[in-house]
Symmetry: C2
Subunit: 349 residues, 2 copies
């Protein structure tokens, strides 16, 4: 029926030159009569410009790349969504790449994206270390990363305010609830500076208050790791009054372990997390945690790449997005009178 028509076809049908058609489509002034003919011809053929050719000509694709370790992880998924929305609002498409938590795949993604000449890349890197030298890629290719460990002279960084967030959380535990013996589940050693900052903040608050330092048990940020780590905590440090998961997934795993040990959260022990994933409210004792502003993170990242697309020479920048303490019940606070509804819409199929 309608097919793959070219500018030239429209020009032929309207009996004008290709440049005239091009002008009409770009909104450049043209004799009204010709414009009329062009529009009609285009409509008849169902013509739509070939963005590929435009991109080649213009030297810019109108697409940004997004590399995440794994979109199926809710945190990255939410971030991807925010980025997609803001990017499209600015006329950019988003091509998505999973690095599958592997450095080699991350490099592969970068190569793919460079090959396709996407205009810029938002990189949520796998672990510390910046991608090595972006070899073979133009140095003025806009890249923004999500962890300071990936920073480089030409790589901007956006990050949550981990320190302030964890500070508020721990202050709440030791201040409001007067808890004194905390155990932390954290990656060891922390390869992401985000993790290091959070752990550092826990230590800093306790030191400031002259409380005993936290017991630290290793956990690789997964639910299962949190569960196992909490079992260990209950066994080795039975006088712990609170378990701090460095993220929500581990905190939820810890809650499970506590329940399985026949104890109750928060009556016997408090459990708190960091992230504020939507499922954090889906459990018996809704999780007290620190909310990361994913929308803010996504928007900032897009802003940084897009600014750098316009001016590749920009000096390196860093954006710190505020976090917010979310007090629910797992810390020992009472349920508020009216539960705030789940901010996410979790429609399923």
């Amino acid at each position: 029926m309608t097919g793959n028509f070219r500018l030239k076809d429209v020009a032929a049908l309207a009996d004008v030159s290709t440049s005239t058609v091009s002008r009409v489509f770009r909104g450049v002034a043209v004799l009204p009569e010709l414009e009329e003919r062009v529009r009609e011809a285009a409509a008849r053929l169902g013509y739509q410009p070939n963005g590929l050719a435009q991109a080649l000509r213009a030297g810019r694709l109108g697409v940004v790349g997004l590399i995440v370790p794994d979109v199926s992880n809710p945190w990255f998924a939410e971030l991807a969504r925010e980025i997609e929305v803001v990017a499209r609002a600015h006329g950019h498409g988003v091509v998505l790449c999973n690095s599958d938590n592997r450095r080699s795949q991350e490099e592969e993604c970068l190569d793919l994206l460079w090959n396709r000449r996407v205009d810029g890349v938002i990189l949520v890197s796998v672990r510390g270390e910046p991608p090595r030298a972006l070899p073979g890629r133009a140095v003025d290719w806009p890249v923004v990363a999500f962890d300071e460990s990936c920073a480089a002279p030409t790589i901007d960084v956006v990050t949550s305010d981990n320190r302030a967030g964890m500070d508020a959380l721990v202050e709440h535990l030791v201040g409001t609830h007067a808890l004194r013996r905390l155990s932390v589940i954290a990656p060891q050693p922390p390869s992401l500076v985000a993790a290091a900052e959070r752990l550092g903040a826990v230590r800093a608050v306790l030191a400031r208050r002259r409380l005993p330092p936290p017991e630290v048990v290793e956990g690789d940020l997964t639910y299962e790791a949190g569960r196992r780590a909490a079992e260990e905590i209950l066994r080795r440090y039975p006088d712990s009054e609170a378990i701090v998961g460095l993220n929500d997934a581990m905190a939820l795993g810890a809650m499970r372990a506590v329940a399985e040990a026949g104890l109750s959260v928060p009556r016997d022990i408090a459990v708190v997390g960091f992230d504020d994933m939507s499922v954090a409210t889906w459990v018996a004792a809704p999780l007290t945690t620190v909310r990361q502003d994913l929308a803010g993170l996504g928007r900032s990242a897009y802003r940084l790449v897009s600014e750098r697309m316009n001016d590749p020479q920009l000096a390196q920048r860093k954006v710190v997005v505020p976090t917010e303490l979310r007090v629910r019940q797992s810390c020992g606070c009472r349920a508020p009178l009216s539960e705030n509804p789940d901010p996410y819409h979790e429609e399923q199929r």
Copy 2:
């Protein structure tokens, strides 16, 4: 440093013609000595072919579009991941579009993708109805959809075996557990045929067994909707023995409502779902549900588009991916001796 070099630059440096360079890069035989010179020149410049130009020339981009209502929804996110992985394994990139559950945005995405001339589209449509006529787009543009309501002569469909899955689930409830009074939380009216199939299967099993038909309460597939619907069920149909959520999110919401009513799952009432999201195992009474094979769905969808890319004239096809009953504890079964660990890795940042 290294920059944006072209084939021509390599040719000049190696003192050969551009076609020779092109041949080397495409693996076409060339005099060893020349090949050597070309490779060295390319390495020196850090040259990488411009995929954009290649695409324009070849008439194919090497990219498929993926339109989902919302990637931040775990179900779609997981699907997106599977598709991205299989697509990249076959040399395709994936450009991601959120339709934000709005038909107008869906159309917009289609326009965007057509403009960029992606080679095909995988469409997880918002609600029933096929996208109207793909206006202005070539009819032989490969499109595959995820719900039969979107089928069209040129649009392939892939779907889970909803009927069989729900059949097995309900048989388990009324057979193994001898429950007789079921309440269902379902979208009303079901706009997706998937939902209609699931609800139909519940009715069919009960009818077959000459049991009373289910009470049906409306829920729009969200956690909150499930919670509210379950409250209504407990109030209006207090003799219900099981609540069937048409998806896991609603089932989990229902569990919450049951707990808030001071009842216990599964002792006082059974609750089951459909999907098998990873969080289904994170709750006190791990959810008995039907697993959708997201990897299979994703792979099938990719296979269908990619086949249609090679032969646009293909007749319409439909793939039904098997589902699998996952018995856990929320139906009343005992906990198995060894819990199977969470199949997803929920690493967070």
